[in-house]
C-alpha cells in the first residue's frame, strides 16, 4: 500500500508548485465565466418562461456539454477543455521524474513501479478534483445568485465531469509512464489531443460527407468506430450519471430548430449509454496499463 505515500508526496509537491493553483484558476475561470454568461445572456435562448430550478440547471449542463440550442454544433466547453487539462496534469508525472533523476530517490525507497504509477495517478487526480470542486462551486454560486439551481442535478453533472477528467489524467499518466523523457511524453499527449480532439471528428465528418454523402445513415461499422473516441463516449457517461440528461437534451433540442443533417440515433448497442461508459472505462484502464507495463520493463539508467 505504499502508493499512498507516493500519492501524498506528489500532492504536497503539486500544492507547492503552480500546478494545483493553475488548475484551480483554470477551472474557476472556465466554469465561473460560463456560468456568468449563461445566467446573464444565454439563458434566454432556451425560451423558457418562468423556469424551474431544474430547467435552469439542465440549461447550464447542456451549455457545458455542447448540446445547447444554437451552440450545439461546436464542441462543448467541457469537451474542449477537460481532456487537455487532464492530459497536461499527467504528462510530466513520471517522465519528469525520470528527466530530473528524482525517480532514483523515489525508487531507492521501498516502492514498486506499480506504486509509483498508481500513486502518481492518485496524486494528480486529487489535484484535478480540487480544481473541479472549486471551479464548479464558484459556477454553482453564480448561477444560484443570478437564477436558481437544483443541487442534486448539478452535483451529478460535476461528478460526470470529474470522471471524464480522471479518464484523461489516467491517459496522461499512462503516456508519461511509457515515456523515457517528458519531451516524448508531451509529444504523446499532443498526439492524443490531435487525434481525438481534432482529427477524429474531422475524419469521420469528411468520410461521412464524401463516402456516404450524408445519406443520413452511415453503416454500423462506421458509427461504431466513430463512437470509440473518449469525446464521443462522454454523452453516454453524462446520461448514465445524470438521470434526466437525455430527456432534457432531446426536449431542448426539439425546442430549438432541428439540427440539419442529424442522423437518427437508432438502437444499436454502440449507441447505448452503457457503451459510452464502457469506452471510457477502456480509456481509463488500457493506456495506464500499457504505460505501467512499459515503465515496469524499462531500464531506468
Amino acid at each position: 500500500m505504499s502508493w499512498t505515500a507516493v500519492a501524498r508526496k506528489d500532492f504536497h509537491d503539486s500544492v507547492r508548485s503552480l500546478l494545483l493553483w493553475g488548475v484551480v484558476v483554470v477551472f474557476v475561470l472556465f466554469a465561473g465565466l460560463l456560468a456568468f454568461l449563461y445566467a446573464n445572456y444565454f439563458f434566454d435562448v432556451l425560451g423558457v418562461s418562468d423556469p424551474t430550478a431544474e430547467t435552469v440547471t439542465f440549461g447550464f449542463v447542456l451549455l457545458m456539454t455542447g448540446n445547447f440550442p444554437l451552440l450545439q454544433f461546436g464542441v462543448g466547453p467541457v469537451l474542449a477543455l477537460v481532456p487537455v487539462i487532464g492530459l497536461l496534469l499527467g504528462y510530466k508525472s513520471i517522465a519528469g521524474e525520470r528527466d530530473s533523476g528524482q525517480i532514483k530517490i523515489l525508487l531507492g525507497l521501498p516502492h514498486s513501479r506499480l506504486d509509483v504509477v498508481v500513486g502518481k495517478f492518485a496524486g494528480r487526480s486529487t489535484v484535478a478534483l480540487i480544481g473541479i470542486a472549486v471551479g464548479f462551486s464558484v459556477a454553482a454560486l453564480i448561477v444560484l445568485v443570478l437564477k436558481s439551481i437544483e443541487p442534486v442535478i448539478f452535483i451529478q453533472f460535476v461528478v460526470a465531469v470529474a470522471l471524464f477528467t480522471l479518464v484523461h489524467v489516467s491517459i496522461g499518466v499512462g503516456i508519461s509512464a511509457a515515456s523515457p523523457s517528458s519531451t516524448l511524453s508531451l509529444i504523446g499527449v499532443m498526439g492524443f489531443v490531435g487525434i481525438f480532439q481534432v482529427l477524429w471528428g474531422a475524419t469521420f465528418f469528411v468520410l461521412n460527407a464524401f463516402v456516404f454523402e450524408f445519406s443520413g445513415q452511415p453503416p454500423d461499422w462506421f458509427r461504431f468506430l466513430r463512437n470509440l473516441s473518449p469525446g464521443r463516449a462522454y454523452d453516454g457517461l453524462m446520461a448514465s450519471v445524470v438521470p434526466r440528461y437525455a430527456e432534457y437534451k432531446s426536449e431542448i433540442a426539439s425546442n430549438a430548430t432541428a439540427g440539419a443533417g442529424t442522423e437518427p440515433v437508432g438502437d444499436a448497442f454502440f449507441t447505448q449509454d452503457w457503451f459510452g461508459v464502457l469506452v471510457l472505462v477502456f480509456w481509463a484502464v488500457v493506456p495506464l496499463a500499457i504505460g505501467y507495463w512499459r515503465f515496469e520493463t524499462d531500464d531506468l539508467g
Binding site: 505515500a5 501524498r8 509537491d13 532514483k104 531507492g108 525507497l109 531506468l300
Partner: protein
C-alpha cells in the same frame, strides 16, 4: 550470507557494453569500496542491485534476496544514495525525511538525522535552494533513516568539500560499527583507501581486482616505484624495461621512466635501460601509493601523454 552477491552479470546498452560477466561479493558488516574511472560501470552495477536496470545475463542478490524478484523488500532494508539524482526542490529537508519515514514505515527525529549529516539549520528550507553538497548531505541523511542493514552509496563524496568528505567517512565507519554493510563507489581512490575493508576495482565493465588495501599493495611488484631519469626516452627503452619479468607497469613522463617493480629488481631495470644506449642521469625509488596502483590497473597507457600529469583526474 553475503550482503551482496553479483554473479556473472552482463549488461549492454545498445552497442555499449556496460558490464561484462561481473561477479563480486560483499560480506556482511564490511565496508566495500567500489572503485573505477568514470564510465567503468559502477552506477550500472548499483542500478542492477536496486533493480533500476535488468541485466542481460547473470544474477544479483542483495541481503540474500534476488535483486529483481524481491526488490521492494531489499529496498526496505537498504539505504540508498544514488548518483544523478535530484531532490524535490519544492519540499523541505523535513518533508524529504518524512517521506522516507512514511515509505519505510519508521518514525525518527528529522532534526537528529540532519544534525548528524551537518545541515540541521536547513530543516525547514526548500531543497531547491541547496548547494550540491547540502543536497548530498540530505540524501545521505535520507539513506540513514530506519538504520538499514545495507547502505548503497554511489559516489557519496560528490559535491562535498574536503571537510565534508571526512565527515562522510566518519558516518560510513559509524554505520559499519553499528553492524551495517556499506557498499560505496568512487572514482577517487583516496576516498576509498581511507575507509574500506575491501576494494573492488572495475574497468570497462569488468572487475580487474578485488582485495583488501594491503592485499592490493602486496600484489603490485613489491609495491615499489622506480623513477629513472634518462637522456632519451624511446620505444626501445620502454621495451627493454618491459621485458624484465618482475615489472608490473611502465610509464614515461618527459625524460623519466616510471617503473613498478620489486626493490630487488631495480638494478636490473637500470641495467636494461643502459643496455639500450641511453644514459641514466639519476633515479629514485619510493613505496608506490595506491594511487599509482589504481592508475596502473585502470588505464592502458604504456607511453603516457606528455601532459598526463596535469590532466590526470584527482
Amino acid at each position: 550470507m553475503a550482503a551482496i552477491d553479483v554473479d556473472g552479470v552482463s549488461k549492454r546498452f545498445g552497442s555499449v557494453r556496460a558490464l561484462q560477466d561481473l561477479s563480486l561479493t560483499v560480506e556482511e558488516g564490511e565496508i566495500y569500496g567500489f572503485l573505477g574511472p568514470n564510465g567503468a560501470g559502477k552506477s550500472t552495477t548499483i542500478n542492477v542491485l536496486l533493480d533500476f536496470v535488468r541485466p542481460d545475463r547473470g544474477t544479483a542478490s542483495v541481503l540474500g534476496m534476488d535483486a529483481q524478484e524481491n526488490s521492494e523488500a531489499i529496498r526496505q532494508r537498504t539505504g540508498v544514495l544514488p548518483d544523478g539524482y535530484q531532490v524535490y526542490e519544492r519540499l523541505t529537508a523535513r518533508q524529504h525525511l518524512e517521506f522516507v519515514m512514511e515509505s519505510k514505515g519508521v518514525q525518527e527525529d528529522p532534526h537528529a538525522i540532519l544534525e548528524r549529516v551537518g545541515i540541521p539549520d536547513a530543516i525547514d528550507r526548500k531543497a531547491g535552494g541547496y548547494s550540491k553538497g547540502m543536497a548530498q548531505r540530505l540524501v545521505l541523511g535520507m539513506s540513514l533513516v530506519g538504520d538499514p542493514e545495507l547502505l548503497i552509496l554511489d559516489e557519496p563524496t560528490t559535491g562535498l568539500d574536503p571537510n565534508g568528505a571526512v565527515e562522510m567517512r566518519e558516518i560510513i565507519r559509524e554505520e559499519r560499527d553499528r553492524g551495517a554493510t556499506v557498499f560505496f563507489s568512487s572514482h577517487i581512490l583516496a576516498q576509498v583507501e581511507a575507509v574500506c575493508d575491501r576494494v573492488g576495482i572495475l574497468k570497462d565493465g569488468e572487475l580487474v581486482a578485488e582485495d583488501t588495501i594491503e592485499g592490493l599493495r602486496d600484489s603490485m611488484g613489491g609495491g615499489h616505484q622506480l623513477t629513472v631519469d634518462v637522456d632519451q626516452v624511446n620505444d626501445s627503452v620502454v621495451g627493454a624495461v618491459r621485458s624484465i619479468p618482475d615489472v608490473t607497469g611502465v610509464e614515461t613522463r618527459d625524460s623519466r621512466v616510471i617503473v613498478n617493480v620489486d626493490e630487488s629488481e631495480q638494478m636490473a631495470v637500470i641495467d636494461a635501460i643502459r643496455g639500450t644506449g641511453a644514459t641514466v642521469k639519476g633515479f629514485e625509488t619510493r613505496e608506490a601509493s595506491l594511487e599509482d596502483l589504481f592508475a596502473d590497473i585502470t588505464t592502458d597507457k604504456e607511453v603516457a601523454e606528455p601532459d598526463a600529469e596535469g590532466g590526470a583526474e584527482a
